[in-house]
């Protein structure tokens, strides 16, 4: 991207605010943005990873879902829900291979894009980025491990409670909170994040609504009683001060 572009400083600002790139020297961030091209993708764009893995993408705005599906029964499981400042596909960056993942934009998204080889070269030239990348990879692995264990060990109520709590600031002391990234997702999308189906998630949310734990209506989800939701999640992933 040309540093004279009206979008250049906006891209730098977005990356500086992200967990992955914050704390990096401005010159390092400018270096990667300069190597990137800017793209926008419309909402509901779906494409298999085979079409995208040769380029490294960093989201500037909007959300992208990475999922796997079973063509025979039509079921989907969301592996990652990515927001601004997050990259994909980080695994292809590491191993240089495509992965069996379907990518879908949940909003109109803006992103930076550069060839994988160029991204690896930038990594080589900026080893300080590893101090951010390694914890990020650790989080991604924990997230996948959490999803796998939730699917194997817990019922739908617990899985749904844990999903919501993963998208709530763990330091909050408020009882009334809005989950980030997932608060406007459809019940079907929420179901695909916990290996369930829409009717089950809908029934569970209505049940919690009657209990005053959440306020869920079309396209909007609010937590009304965080501590009770933590109890439903068996209090493992989230701690709320008494």
């Amino acid at each position: 991207m040309n540093p004279q572009s009206a979008f250049f400083s906006e891209s730098i600002r977005c990356l500086k605010q992200s967990a992955l790139f914050s704390g990096l020297a401005t010159s390092s961030i400018e270096d990667i943005v300069t190597r990137c091209r800017r793209e926008t993708w419309k909402r509901r764009r779906q494409l298999p990873m085979e079409e995208t893995w040769r380029r490294f993408h960093i989201l500037l705005s909007g959300r992208v879902r990475l999922s796997r599906g079973n063509a025979e029964n039509g079921r989907m499981i969301t592996l990652f829900l990515l927001g601004p400042g997050e990259p994909f596909c980080i695994f292809s960056l590491l191993d240089g291979k495509p992965h069996d993942v379907m990518l879908e934009t949940l909003d109109d998204v803006t992103l930076l894009s550069l060839p994988m080889d160029e991204a690896r070269q930038w990594l080589d030239e900026h080893p300080e980025f590893n101090r951010k990348l390694l914890p990020y990879l650790g989080e991604q692995m924990c997230s996948l491990a959490g999803l796998a264990s939730d699917l194997a060990l817990h019922d739908t109520e617990t899985r749904l409670a844990r999903l919501i709590l993963r998208h709530v600031d763990s330091a909050t002391t408020e009882q009334h909170v809005t989950p980030r990234l997932i608060n406007d997702l459809s019940h079907e999308s929420l179901a695909e994040m916990i290996g369930s189906v829409r009717v089950v998630v809908n029934r569970q949310l209505q049940h919690w609504k009657q209990e005053g734990i959440v306020d869920a209506h079309r396209g909007h989800l609010e937590v009304e009683a965080l501590q009770e939701l933590v109890r439903r999640a068996e209090e493992l992933p989230h701690k709320v001060p008494a």
Binding site: M1, Q4, S5, A6, T40, T110
Partner: protein, 171 residues
């Protein structure tokens, strides 16, 4: 039907935009898939006018040679007055998109007629705001319409030139 994938490049002046068009044509791009948008001058010392000679629209004014040359290469010509932007001159298939939007009374909330045309070819709102600002500041937009491969190839050609900004918009 104009494809809903595009590569949009922003240029500081008409000479750069014209050179970019020629570079794309030299690389084999279809002239029927290129559009240019710029602001028409309204200053008193630069009177402008349009007239039709046979099948070809002519532009008379400070940049008559520029627009006349483009209209010789590209499909379509239009001259609009857009609230907030002033007079806007367009060449290429974006003209038919804009006319279709106007004829169909397609209104996209909060967008000008030009903004609605850009929106209908898959450009998101925040980018439209930036492009309208660029036009207002006397910059020029060069738009390459096409499939994903074409707009990516156009990006590679244009990114190496004088463009202030080059963005790919995919649907």
């Amino acid at each position: 039907m104009v494809e809903e994938n595009s590569c949009v490049a922003v240029y500081d002046n008409h000479l750069q935009a014209e050179e970019a068009v020629r570079r794309l044509l030299a690389k084999g791009f279809d002239a029927g898939k290129l559009s240019i948008v710029g602001k028409g001058y309204q200053r008193e010392e630069h009177p402008i006018g349009f007239y039709n000679t046979g099948d070809r629209m002519k532009f008379w004014g400070a940049q008559g040679a520029f627009w006349g040359g483009l209209w010789g290469m590209l499909l379509g010509a239009a001259f609009f007055w857009v609230p907030g932007l002033g007079t806007v001159v367009i060449a290429g298939p974006l003209v038919s998109v804009l006319v279709t939007a106007l004829e169909g009374a397609a209104v996209v909330g909060g967008l000008s007629a030009l903004g609605a045309a850009l929106y209908s070819i898959g450009i998101p709102r925040d980018s439209i705001v930036r492009y309208e600002t660029a036009i207002k500041s006397d910059h020029y937009l060069l738009i390459v319409h096409g499939d994903q491969g074409e707009v990516e190839r156009a990006h590679d050609v244009l990114a190496g030139g004088d463009a202030r900004d080059v963005t790919i918009h995919l649907s």
